[in-house]
Amino acid sequence: MKTKLLLVSGLLAILTGCGQQPELDVNANQNQTPSQNQQTQEQSQAQTQQPIETDLTDNTAVKVTEESMNEDKLNQQLANTLSKEVVHFDFDKYNIREDQLPIVEQVANILKDTKTNYTVRIEGNCDEWGTDEYNYALGLKRAKTVKQALIDLGVPSQKLTIISYGESNPVCTAHTKACWAKNRRDNFTLLP
């Protein structure tokens, strides 16, 4: 019986010892330079917490970098998604057409679902008819109408900004009715 107890105690002692020592080695190998390792061991012997704090700082730095990379990727994805969303308007109008409402709702859902810290610029555009000064105002009203709709759908107003390009930013340069219809639009651009 005594022999059995001694064997169990010995095994426990070996297992405990084996479990602690490699853990220290791994930490030292992964996160510390040899000199730091030596210093850590010396300070550990002096029962200070300094080496552990150094480890935590390093880990935090790694984490921040990973998060930043993820946000860039998310922003890129958001920018790509938004660039495909276009709201079109009727000639000389700035109210949202019924058939364009699902697009506005889609943009609202995208913005509400995104985890990234963003500012989106709504860009109003016009066809080539009318004077440019009036068209800049018309483009601005188109951007404002969609901005208000997005706010009504739950997008925070401080996340949205607007600008008008009038007729200066056509996506279609042919002089046809189909082309003019494509140019009467709002685009969405993610601002850095």
Binding site: E128, Y134, A137, L140, S164, Y165, N169, T173, K177
Partner: protein
């Protein structure tokens, strides 16, 4: 036999609306031109100027050996004046001789720093000749035109030209540079908007290239009119296009209109008023605001779709969409309205005729015609009942002169 035609009379037609200048015996004064050295380019400009001014005729006759040689008046029976010209070493010498009174009425030398600015030199000559003949002054012929043209999507550059668009110089390029307006009467500086992250208003010296940031606001920023140190701007500070007055000296910004729709294209009018375009009744039309009383009234009751306006005393010119068809060829024409009589005269036929601007003399209007996807600078001579065009193979976004 010399034909003596010294005076002309003006008769009024069409209820004070249009003044047609008529000459005694329906013949304008004739000027014979002799030249010692006059490149064809210079000849072309003086011919164009004569057509636009429309007060006299010229006839480029013969080459002479020396501008100072004796004048043989017998060669020019039927002419009223003899104009002698000599261009050399970037200087034009002009001598205008009255064949009726036998007197030299103009003897002047015009110097230019480089040959490419010769159109301005010839315009100065035409201005002086017109003055010496005693006709209504034509200071607009010497003006510089500044305009923004479409280069590509999100790419517009600002250019400088003479009134015939013969001289062309790119002033500002890179990005969206729009709505240039002259900042001073001497035409040395311009205001223009650059669309950066937000619209920015700059003041730019065309001689030194010095650029000064004046104002930046979100959404929209356009200089619509300039009067001394005050600017009429269309701004959208609250995401809403309204008209503001900005004092360059005090940097004070005053909101002049408050409307939930579109207010745009403000123009100073009659000392204490502005006229502007608004869609208050559901369609763009011309309105007037009295800056003393703050009252806003509809300015014109003719037509239902006016997109730009210019006014001089009782004369108002609007660019008006006359048909219900959105994309008709004659969708936008210029209408001259007499505010006193409400008489309306159509000034243009066909194309998109926009952005009318009165010359300070009130008898001439410059505007842009878009036709078959090109722009033309149009010059309307109201009293002569004539329109002249100068073509540009690009679309003009806006202009000022």
């Amino acid at each position: 036999m010399r034909v003596i035609i010294l005076f002309f009379m003006i008769i009024f037609l069409q209820a004070q609306n249009l003044e047609i200048v008529k000459y005694v015996n329906n013949v304008k004064p004739k000027i014979a031109v002799e030249y010692q050295n006059l490149p064809i380019k210079l000849q072309n400009i003086i011919k164009k100027d004569t057509l636009i001014i429309s007060h006299y005729n010229i006839d480029i006759k013969t080459k002479i050996d020396n501008i100072k040689e004796a004048i043989d008046e017998n060669k020019y029976e039927g002419y009223n004046y003899l104009l002698r010209l000599d261009y050399k070493n970037k200087a034009l010498t002009a001598l205008l001789y009255n064949l009726i009174s036998h007197k030299v009425v103009l003897y002047k030398r015009y110097r230019i720093p480089t040959f490419d600015v010769y159109p301005f030199m010839m315009h100065s000559l035409s201005y002086d000749v017109n003055e010496k003949l005693g006709f209504a002054s034509v200071p607009w012929i010497k003006k510089k035109i500044v305009y923004s043209i479409y280069m590509a999507p999100k790419e517009q550059s600002i250019f400088l030209s003479d009134i015939t668009l013969t001289y062309r110089k790119k002033l500002i390029s890179g990005g969206l540079n729009i709505f240039p307006k002259w900042a001073d009467n001497k035409q040395t500086t311009i205001y223009y908007t650059k669309l950066e992250r937000q619209p920015v208003l700059y003041k730019y010296n065309i001689h030194t290239g010095k650029k000064e940031k004046i104002l930046t606001v979100p959404g929209m920023l356009i200089v619509s009119d300039v009067k001394d140190n005050k600017l009429l701007l269309t701004l959208a500070i609250h995401d809403q296009p309204d008209i503001y007055e900005y004092d360059i000296n005090t940097k004070k910004l005053t909101r002049l209109t408050h409307f939930v729709g579109i207010d745009v294209n403000g123009q100073f009018y009659d000392n204490n008023k502005i006229v502007f375009i608004s869609n208050r009744l559901g369609y763009p039309n011309v309105y007037q605001k009295n800056l003393d009383t703050n009252s806003v009234i509809q300015f014109l009751y003719h037509g239902k779709n006016h997109i730009s306006v210019t006014a001089y005393k009782n004369k108002v010119v609007v660019s008006s969409r006359e048909t219900n068809k959105a994309f008709d060829n004659n969708a936008f024409n210029l209408l001259l309205v007499n505010k006193d009589t409400n008489f309306v005269k159509r000034l243009t036929f066909g194309g998109k005729n926009m952005m009318p601007v009165f010359a300070k003399t009130g008898d001439t209007i410059l505007f842009i015609k878009e036709y078959r996807f090109n722009s033309k600078l149009g010059i309307i001579r109201l009293n002569e009942n004539k329109i002249f065009y100068f073509k540009l193979n690009r679309i003009i976004q806006s202009f000022d002169f």
